[in-house]
Amino acid sequence: MEEMQSLWKSMSQELNNQKKLTDKLIIDMTQQRYTNRFKKISIYEGAGAIVCFAAALYILLNIGKLDTWYLMLSGVITLAVLITLPIVSLWSIDRMKSLDLSKNTYKETLIKFASYRNQFLMLQRLAAYMAFALVFTALPVASKIKGDKDIFLTNTATLYWFIPVMLVFLFFFVRWGYSCYSGITKSAERVLQELDES
């Protein structure tokens, strides 16, 4: 071990003698990262939220066209999903990003990050289920608002193939999602368990 330490020391000395960074490179690194961060938020999370909110607004403006209780119920569910999904998703991402990396110790960061990530993945799973519910509720709503057709009365044939296909898809989708989710959470749990033992 002492040999390793002295080996490490000599490598560190050599690294210290090799000054490779220029002032410009250091400033460019901070600036580029700052801009990229902003770009990522606006493109992925922001765009998704805008699409959801725009769709919600469209339904809200046309909610009067949903003239039966079941269409109204579908409309309300669709609205709830479209509004809560992006808010919850953005909130959980923000929580992970807001970890104070300068104040927390290594152990605290490990614990917080592992539990935030677990919660984030759980929310992602929940979001996937909610998105699926959206497929069932958005179709009759869109059909009524766009084409003034009550899909439950005029287009029952579509429902006969649409619901079974969606249920089969849901089965495989949930199974796949669960296997991905349990793999990641197991590794996070292992870290937390090891920390508990220490």
Binding site: M29, L101, N104
Partner: protein
């Protein structure tokens, strides 16, 4: 806005430390250069808040190690190639020559460790005392000692096989 000159000096004085941390916590050169930028960015972000309550080096290790922990190592598709990335890449290529086979072996062994042990062994190799390791990691000094003994035994067993 942090004092730019002081910040630049800090990074220049400690570029070796950033290199060593990013080398340990990344999967490949691509990932390492991404993490390198992220560490510099996080240091820049928290530099303004640093009030001197702890040693500058303690603060720096804390930020760099925490950044490495929370950094996503997912391979990103279509990574942007630009002069900045190429410059950091060159640093890695040139600095790798500093390392002889024994150092490469040591790195490969550390890479196999779990994140907790990685942080502790790195700080130990950096010559930090048990108290300093405890301040940075949040583990008690006795726990640091126990973990280090375990790590040493593991390393010894690997070297002997």
């Amino acid at each position: 806005m942090p004092n730019q000159e002081q910040f630049i000096q800090l990074i220049r004085d400690n570029e070796g430390i950033i290199f060593k941390i990013t080398r340990i916590y990344s999967r490949d050169a691509e990932d390492a250069k991404d993490l390198y930028q992220e560490v510099v960015y996080q240091l820049w972000k928290s530099f303004e808040k640093f009030r001197g309550d702890s040693k500058m080096s303690t603060w720096m290790y804390k930020v760099a190690l925490n950044t490495a922990l929370t950094h996503s190592s997912k391979r990103k598709k279509n990574r942007e190639e630009n002069p900045l990335n190429e410059a950091i890449y060159r640093i890695y290529e040139e600095t790798d020559h500093v390392m002889d086979e024994r150092i490469q072996f040591l790195y490969s062994q550390i890479n196999k460790m779990n994140v907790m042990d990685k942080g502790i062994i790195l700080l130990f190799l950096e010559g930090k005392s048990y108290e300093e390791i405890s301040t940075i990691t949040g583990f008690t000094t006795s726990n640091v000692g126990t973990r280090l003994t375990r790590i040493k035994n593991k390393l010894k067993a690997t070297v002997n096989t």
